[in-house]
């Protein structure tokens, strides 16, 4: 059990609407990540699911039961806070045992359960220490221990890794994924970090200003973002957006004008919408990692750009160039836009010298004036993971 369903859930603080009608189904055992910029209402939504915050409107349903007015424990939910929220005067053992003490469990059972949780989280040696003597990662594990000891059906995490340094964060990501496999419980994880979202999620919910911008598997969001917002939020460095003008539409795609080049972008435009399109301003999206150094003359299906990067980062594994507003490529209307490209390996390019770049039109995304994406004509099967084979029927 651990199936969660949100039905047009709304939250207002006074006159300010923070969550504006969110509907979502979370499957049992799923690792669901809520991602979005700071202040978009992620924590508020999570706190409503937890039962810490009253729901202004809409229903929260867990395993078929409406839980809006139930206390957190009755919902079968445990939560890990961003700030750990450990009880500083208690030992690690007592911190983890706290929910069991509240329940009034017998001492022997408390010992068993805390011992089991400590084993899962590698905290056996720390049980008699106080939280003040632990490192950040250990504190976070204690906080997780306090959540798992009650064996809840749903775990909520509110940016649990954001107080840790980068290396520890990477370790804890892997550990949380392992924990999810081990426990098989539903997990809802809030973060503003798209890398955490991409690496851990079964499905990602992108929140924007209190609305769901898009829900989908990580690679689905990466390859077929439905809005400019999602396109910019998923992927790092963020997608480049170049202003273009539509010059033609047919069943195979849209032809746009970028600095005098005519590019054919393979997207599907509904027949009814085609007539009004030519002449309109559109946005062409291309991810930095899909850009290469131009080789030879422009060929069909590739676009060429001369860019003067002002900063070059040599990472060894990659070379990243940034053209900021004043040195940027000239947009189609003459206005300057910023631009970023990621080249494999170490490239001998220097800042403030122009480089010739190229990218395939097949890799491009196209958005209309309202920021909505045209559906790309790509074979998703080749770009995303196949659905997991059912071990019972497979092989």
């Amino acid at each position: 059990m651990g199936q969660l369903s949100l039905q047009t859930v709304t939250k207002s603080f006074g006159t300010i609407d923070v969550v504006k009608g969110v509907s979502l189904d979370v499957v049992e055992g799923e690792f669901m990540v809520f991602v979005g910029p700071s202040g978009c209402g992620k924590s508020t939504l999570l706190r409503m699911i937890a039962g810490l915050e009253h729901t202004t409107a809409g229903d929260i349903v867990i395993d078929g039961v409406r839980v809006n007015d139930m206390a957190p424990v009755d919902r079968g939910i445990a939560m890990v806070f961003q700030s750990y929220a450990l009880y500083p005067h208690m030992t690690v053992f007592e911190n983890i045992a706290f929910p069991l003490r509240v329940e009034g469990l017998a001492e022997a059972q408390v010992r068993d359960k805390v011992g089991a949780a400590a084993r899962i989280l590698h905290l056996e040696d720390r049980l008699q220490q106080k939280p003040g003597n632990l490192s950040g990662g250990q504190r976070q594990r204690v906080a997780i221990g306090r959540a798992i000891v009650r064996a809840p059906e749903i775990f909520l995490f509110d940016e649990p890794l954001s107080n840790l340094d980068a290396a520890l964060r990477a370790d804890m990501r892997i550990e949380l994924t392992r924990l999810h496999k081990q426990l098989g419980a539903t997990m809802i994880y809030v973060t503003h970090d798209q890398i955490e979202a991409m690496t851990m999620a079964d499905r990602i919910v992108v929140l924007h200003d209190g609305y769901i911008a898009q829900v989908g598997a990580p690679l689905e969001l990466y390859h077929t973002p439905q809005t400019l917002f999602v396109a910019g939020f998923i992927g790092n460095p963020r997608m480049n957006v170049l202003p273009v003008t539509c010059v033609g539409v047919d069943a195979t795609g849209v032809t746009v004008d970028l600095e005098g080049q005519h590019l054919h972008v393979p997207v599907t435009v509904p027949a009814a919408a085609r007539a009004g399109l030519p002449g309109q301003r559109l946005s062409l999206g291309i991810r930095p990692e899909h850009i290469a150094l131009a080789q030879g003359a422009a060929a069909d299906g590739t676009a060429h750009l001369r860019v003067t990067p002002s900063v070059i980062e040599h990472l060894g594994q990659q070379t990243i160039g940034y053209a900021t507003d004043d040195t940027a490529v000239a947009g189609d209307g003459g206005e300057a836009v910023s631009f970023c490209f990621v080249l494999p390996g170490t490239q001998s390019i220097r800042p403030d010298l122009p480089v010739a770049l190229a990218f395939a039109t097949d890799d491009c995304h196209l958005f209309d004036a309202q920021g909505r994406a045209f559906a790309r004509r790509i074979d998703m099967a080749g770009l995303t993971l196949p659905p997991m084979a059912d071990p019972a029927t497979g092989g």
Partner: protein, 312 residues
């Protein structure tokens, strides 16, 4: 310096000369953080300031103690000598003879101060928690009223208080000294403890709520232990306050010798003609000794950093 990114040449930064002018004693104090290092002049000024301050604080005590050792005749000798000649602890014995009730006075003082402190704590700890954690209508008003009340001392309100005590039939009982004493100590205690409790992260309440704990369970098992240093500070302040205040209330609301606290009892040393200074001083020192012991014991519970590791 040219921008290495533009010229393409990398200019390594030269290691800075390590011989810099730190304080002369820097090598000995080298484990100190830079911000904690002072020059010799600064040290001299700091210690001079401390010495001056301590002198003003402690001089009366020293003089009082020396007086308690001197025979009475020597107190009025000219020229006045600070050091007792033929000093003895005789006054510490004779004072018990002059005031047979002395032990009882000390007991009364401690009883009044202790009961006042207990009453204040019982009322103030939950009140401070409520003011720190909950938002309710009229909260600012009530807090403001407490602040206003704490600006009065009991002395200003003696006459109305006397009528109140008389109406309640509390005159000439311990309660006449305990209740007004406690009442006037509550407002500042609430303010003090509320400030302390507001620093306890509210996430701890939320975490406990998520774990199924009731408000009361959370208060008892999470908030109270963390607030302990704050509660001890309030207890010490209240105890000292109650000890100091009881004189005025005892003088006005109580006329029974057997209920008198120490400060009133000390009046017996003020004779018709003369003041028995040496015994008065001896009695003062003996009288405050139990209170000092209690404060020292309480102070041992003043451990800092109790919230370390709670959040972040």
């Amino acid at each position: 310096m040219s921008d290495p990114a533009i010229t393409g040449t990398y200019v390594p930064a030269k290691p800075a000369k390590t011989k810099t002018q730190v304080a002369p004693r820097a090598r000995r104090a080298s484990t100190r953080a830079m911000i904690d290092r002072y020059s010799v002049t600064e040290y001299v000024m700091i210690y001079a300031g401390i010495a001056l301050f301590l002198f003003f604080m402690l001089a009366p005590f020293v003089e009082g103690f020396l007086v308690s050792l001197k025979p009475l005749s020597q107190l009025f000798s000219t020229p006045y000598s600070f050091w007792p000649e033929g000093g003895s602890f005789e006054a510490y014995r004779t004072m018990w003879v002059r005031i047979p009730y002395f032990g009882l006075y000390i007991f009364n003082s401690l009883l009044i101060a202790t009961v006042s402190t207990v009453i204040v704590l019982i009322l103030v700890v939950p009140a401070a928690y409520a003011f720190a954690r909950f938002r309710f209508r009229g909260m600012a008003l009530v807090l403001g009223a407490f602040l206003a009340v704490s600006m009065f001392s009991g002395a200003v309100l003696l006459i109305p208080l006397f009528r109140l005590m008389r109406t309640l039939g509390l005159l000439n009982t311990y309660w006449a000294m305990i209740i007004p004493g406690a009442a006037f100590l509550i407002p500042s205690a609430i303010w003090l403890l509320r400030t302390y409790m507001m620093r306890i992260p509210p996430e701890l309440n939320e975490a406990a709520y998520m774990d199924g704990a009731s408000q009361f369970y959370t208060f008892r098992r999470v908030i109270l232990p963390i607030a302990r240093p704050g509660i001890v500070v309030v207890a010490i302040m209240t105890f000292i306050g109650a000890y100091a205040q009881q004189f005025i209330f005892a003088l006005t609301f109580n006329s029974k010798t057997e209920y008198m606290p120490l400060p009133v009892g000390l009046f017996a040393f003020f004779g018709k003609q003369e003041v028995i200074w040496n015994e008065l001083m001896a009695a003062s020192f003996v009288g405050i000794a139990p209170a000092l012991v209690i404060i020292f014991v309480l102070q041992r519970h003043l451990v800092g950093g109790l919230t370390a590791g709670a959040v972040k």
